[in-house]
Amino acid sequence: MKKFLTTLFLYFLIVGSITVAINGAYLMVAEDDVTERFLNVPDQIQISTFGSSHGECGFDYEDVTDKICFNFSLTAQFPSYDYRLMRYYGDKLAAGGTAYLVVSYFSLFGIDETKTETFASKNARYYSFLPPEYIKEYDWKTSLFAKYFPSMTQGEDLLLIFMQRSATTETDNRDRTVNTETLEHDAHDRSRAHLIVEKLDNSGARIRNQEEITSLYEMISFCRERDVEPVLVTTPFLAEYSDAVMETAPGFLEEFHDIIREITTTTGVRYYDYSADSRFIHDYSLFMNSDHLNRTGARKFTNLLLQETLQS
């Protein structure tokens, strides 16, 4: 038994030590973790953005120096989580301000988010800044990992993170411009991921996600109760992406706009659709891929949007 226990102890000691070392390295590499900003959310936010990566990449408030702005968007974040963030940080939104609610094509469709393949890794990021009652399917074990061993919640992405960091430490992805050689393929893949994967039922019909649609309504009401003006926005895309959307799912845009029309008619909320805006759709210098603006594009878009929405 002595030999057995010694071997077991040695094994755990070695694996444990390496684990701690890897976690330390991860914490150093991931010091610009996208969720860190949620730990320092300012008070009296006058302009806020809620949404997915389209909101995260599409809004850059660097040039807006006279107002307090904050971007709550996160990659693949659906309205149901936007609403959770809005409720939690609701007291930080200033009366008289504006909240941009970014509606991506995938936001309102598809299966329950908790059943999607990426849910677990996506959900883990909220553990570092949201209290348990705001986290979907809260689990104390995940909480422990997310707080003390965040490197262990990344899955295989951990290696990709290390590899990408060493490859792109000089150039942030958001400063890239779109690769025109692979653009068409990228647009096709993205439209498929946005409109097909986990978005259709067994008969092939598109699933309207009632939870996400309701969350959008609830965010609108929530904003108004606090005297914050909600504005729905769809960010600019390249023409290649819009073409791919129409090719991948003919009739989708009508379906999407039907829901938006229903929301705007019922609530009177303003909706700005920049998806086919001629100032963007052919300008490759403004995009990092077929549907995400790069930093330059985000600045241009944010300034334009503020001009057009705050003045009207």
Binding site: F4, T7, I14, V15, F145, M152, E156
Partner: protein, 479 residues
């Protein structure tokens, strides 16, 4: 309770400690209590079924041993088999049977009011029922003595490492070990831990990771065609193997910690050079069960060629049905039988070495992977969809591969899987195939530094890359 749950991580050390600090005469009681606790943590009510099966088979065996009359023995055997199989039938096959009957009768315009039982399939029912059947049949044949102690016998039937997904143990192997006095052997304990680490790697890393991609494609088949179907099928081929053999390794490893030796269930099956060889390496406890209790009683290799082929076909069709109450499983069993019949008929034998063996291994792997389509598909029409569309666009190979890959998984991630997951799996299995089938025992010849590095890396991969807070079920639990 799942092997890959926190519950089990707490349960096993407690059982291990209690087992080894207790005097020998109490150990079977600890195993019995822990086994029933293990099962009841899934569903308390369904423990009644194990108790029922255990009591019926226990008394049947005692009565058979006491009676002198052959007719009486036969009657007892018949009644006990009927009772044990009836629970399996009600919980697993009733709905399938009525649906099939209804479909058949409606073809003759005879309406049959459909009857559907909304019953949860008890975990492991097929496994422990088969273990019970082999005991009763062995006692009937006089190959083993009836166990006089109901408690010990109940421990044999419910032994927790193999209760819900096998290996389906034989009386001669497991029952004496439960009664025997055990002394802890460090070497066996360490070997058990190695098996468990390897089993967890296969289950929570390889199987669970690629299951996501398999489910994505097979859950929405009409959306996919071409290479994406091939890739999903190849992934399922690895998933089913890693899921099930991973379970078996954890089960064996757990039993080794208790100084109990369970039979090896897998022996590098994807390195088989014939379908016959595949079945001597895949789910060995079930295939030998069917050999001994179905194939040989049907006549086995005796009689004419046609008779032998018939026996083989029946055995594999029943084996398919054992896996699930669905025509797809029967079809899966059927194609395996037909392949073996072809091997017999054409006198194809597995080459022992050389390039021809490599080529044959590849061919058998492709056949087995294609046959898995029946196993994974929800229906026969889904299976045929896969077969009909998997070569769509293959006339433009580069585009075929690129498009197929693109919609299932990124090249970068696939490369990562190959390097981190599939490569260790291939190495250990290849080593195992060359050295008697047990990869973990085979790599013991590696220098100590290599071995330690290997297990440390595998442990780190499990720690870092497994899904946290989620314990996914094992595929074979449904059988």
């Amino acid at each position: 309770m799942l092997f890959n749950s926190l519950h089990f991580a707490l349960f096993l050390p407690i059982v291990f400690t209690l087992y080894w600090i207790s005097p020998h005469r109490f150990r079977w009681m600890i195993l019995l209590l822990s086994s029933y606790y293990f099962y009841m943590s899934w569903n308390v009510k369904y423990v009644v079924l194990i108790v029922f099966t255990t009591v019926v088979s226990y008394f049947a065996a005692i009565m058979m041993e006491k009676t002198k009359s052959a007719r009486k023995k036969q009657l007892i055997l018949f009644v006990s088999l009927l009772l044990c199989l009836s629970t399996l039938f009600v919980f697993k096959y009733f709905n399938f049977f009525f649906e099939s009957l209804s479909g058949l009768l409606s073809a003759f315009s005879i309406p049959l009011h459909p009857v559907t039982l909304n019953l949860l399939l008890p975990v492991g029912i097929s496994f422990y029922t088969f273990q019970t059947l082999s005991y009763v049949i062995d006692v009937y044949r006089g190959e083993v003595k009836a166990e006089p102690n109901l408690g010990v016998y109940a421990t044999f039937i419910s032994f927790f490492p193999q209760l819900v997904a096998g290996p389906i143990e034989r009386t001669q192997n497991l029952l004496p070990q439960i009664k025997a006095e055990h002394f802890f052997q460090s070497e066996r304990g360490i070997y058990g831990l190695k098996l468990m680490v390897w089993g967890y790697f296969k289950k929570v890393i390889v199987a669970d990771t690629i299951a996501v991609y398999v489910d994505k494609v097979y859950g929405m088949l009409p959306e996919y065609h071409g290479f994406s179907l091939v890739l999903a099928t190849l992934f399922f081929t690895l998933q089913i193997y890693c899921d099930f053999s991973g379970y078996s390794d954890i089960a064996r490893g757990t039993a080794e910690l208790l100084d109990i030796d369970l039979m090896r269930n897998f022996a590098s099956p994807y390195f088989s050079a014939s379908v016959k060889e595949f079945w001597s390496r895949w789910h060995i406890s079930l295939s030998t069960w069917f050999r001994d209790y179905v194939y040989i009683p049907l006549g086995g290799n005796r009689g004419s060629k046609i008779r032998r082929y018939w026996n083989l076909l029946v055995t594999f069709l029943v084996s398919g049905l054992w896996h699930g109450a669905n025509g797809t499983f029967v079809a899966w069993g059927g194609v395996h039988a037909l392949a073996q019949i072809a091997e017999y008929g054409l006198r194809i034998k597995a080459p022992k070495t050389g390039f021809s063996r490599c080529l044959r291994v590849l061919m058998v792997f492709c056949f087995v992977a294609l046959a898995w389509v029946f196993f994974r598909a929800e229906s026969m029409s889904d299976a045929f969809y896969v077969f009909l569309h998997m070569l769509d666009g293959a006339t433009h190979p580069v585009r075929y591969l690129r498009d197929g890959l693109g919609v299932v998984i990124s090249v970068k991630r696939l490369a990562l899987f190959c390097a981190l997951y599939f490569a260790p799996l291939g190495i250990v299995d290849y080593w195992g195939a060359k050295n008697g089938g047990d990869g973990i025992a085979a790599i013991e010849v590696w220098p100590r530094v290599f071995r330690w590095s290997f297990y440390v890396v595998i442990g780190l991969i499990i720690l870092f890359f497994s899904k946290k807070g989620v314990a996914t079920e094992f595929v074979y639990f449904q059988f």
